[in-house]
């Protein structure tokens, strides 16, 4: 379990590095997805209790995991899915206009 948190830190750094350095729009989106997945991993990790079960209290249990981060994680998954959908839709539209995925060639705006 100790290794989870450094792993999350590495994943977030990797994702942000990809967003900052990549030119291909699909790769930028992959970078953002990595960051978002790392956050969801963090949500899973902080609610983890060894031998914990799901907090459905139909019978007495000793250890239940914390449900709130998991609920937040589910919400975050839904939100990430919708932002990724919008991003990919925009990439399709931009590709049809410019015939390229390079972010530097799509530059009508300055400043």
């Amino acid at each position: 379990m100790i290794l989870v948190f450094p792993a999350i830190a590495i994943l977030i750094s990797m994702g942000i590095y990809a967003v900052l350095t990549q030119k291909n729009m699909i790769r930028i989106i992959i970078g953002i997805s990595i960051v978002e997945s790392a956050i969801i991993l963090l949500l899973g990790a902080i609610s983890y209790i060894p031998d914990g079960v799901a907090p459905i209290l139909d019978q007495p249990y000793d250890t239940v995991v914390d449900p709130l981060p998991q609920a937040l994680g589910l919400t975050a998954v839904v939100i990430n899915a919708s932002t990724t959908a919008i991003m990919l839709a925009l990439v399709i539209k931009l590709y049809n206009r410019y015939q390229t995925l390079d972010i530097h060639e799509i530059r009508k705006l300055r400043g």
Binding site: I32, V35, L72, T83, L109, G111
Partner: protein, 496 residues
Amino acid sequence: MHLPILLILIPLFTVFSLGLFAFFSKKYIIPLVFTSSLASTAIIFYFIFNRETRLPFSYNLGSWQPDLAINILVDHYTLVIFAAMGLMILLSVIYSLTEITRNKAKFYLLLNVLFVGIAGMVMTADLFNFYVFFEITSISSYALVAYNDKDISLEAAFKYLMLGTVSAVFLLLAIILTYMATGTLNMVLIPERLGNLPVLTRQILIAFYLIGLGVKFAIVPLHTWLPDAYVGVPITYNVLSSALIIKTQFFVLMRILYILFGLNFLQDNMITTILLVWGIFSMLFGHAAAFQQNNLKRLLGYSTIAQMGYVIIAFSLGTPAGIVAGSFHMVNHGIMKGAVFFAAGNLHKAAGSYQLNKMQGLADIMPKTSLIFVLLLLSMVGIPPLSGFASKWLILEAALEAGYLLPGFMIILGSFLSLGYYLSIIINIYTGEKDLSKKSSARAVGLKINEILPAAALTAVCIILGLYPAILTGLIDRAPEFLLEQLNYINIIIGG
């Protein structure tokens, strides 16, 4: 009384019924949207007029005990955004009637999703729901920026989406860290548990909240999406973004900072000073960048960034007078900038372009709209009888009262800078080549009543507020009680 939750539910049900209605007949779209925004406006004005008896008001979803339930809360600080919502929702819908010609159902669907998000963000009292409503607002904003389907709007939407998603990651990280540190996301329970944490932890949390929300209200190094996004979008989105969306994000950041962390912590750790300097930098940068623009919408975008700088300065003073002044400017700038965008949209109908050099001599074609436009620009600068003067005077007074002489000087300097580029617009419109009417691009156009009404109504509000600022200060003068005093806010839910 279920009114606060209705403010979220009415636009939400409009979204669902829009899909149904548009499936059967397109002619029901406008009446439906109009009715729902009228109902939302009525609820907002109910709270504004009954503020003495009804507020502060907390609503408990599902009648759980207050520390477990989802709480929705309306207090006097919320009225700041309510005042802007009460005017802008209805007027922007009125203006959009003729502006939006294709895909009406989709546009109003996105617009109502936006209203859901704004109403939720303003009223919610726990961070979980705040995050949900924040993302609802953001995602509908991304889609609305791309709505015009031009090259520039798609490109701006992609840029906004990149910055917005990364900032949302930081905000979620801040919320998770708050939960890890305190074990709750209820904004009422966090303050006392957060008080026991190490100072460094709290500073890191503040930094994450600031980055997460700073992108959305365009504080300077994180502002780059805003001018780009403003170029290719419908005027309706320009108005809503300037007057409501970025104001709401800043409103929530201030609530998080002052309620969760407390004024004393912020002042002891120089957070307010950092914000103050950052606000000054934001303001001067916005004004300086506005000088170099030749597109009217980009210029107004940079001007919005600069005006947010004034609001940041006023709020970071940390005195009741500063909060009142900042709130006043938040509402007042929304009114002025909304009216400027409405008028600019009307001018665009004659000029056919937002490039400043193509707007020369427009005053000959549209004398009345140009007059309104000039009045509003002078109000933005802060010329005395108009409302811009009142808000800048309040901010200046609050800054001097709190002992900040240099920020006071910077506010005056910023106003002079803004006078420079607004004067150049005015000169552009009133002089220039007089043969514009001969060009094919320019034509005298009859404006429809729904295009004139929003600009004229907001200009009237602007003049009235300039003469009687007490109308608005009377509305928001109790806001500092619920922002600077953590206990007042906590007692609304726990003790009330």
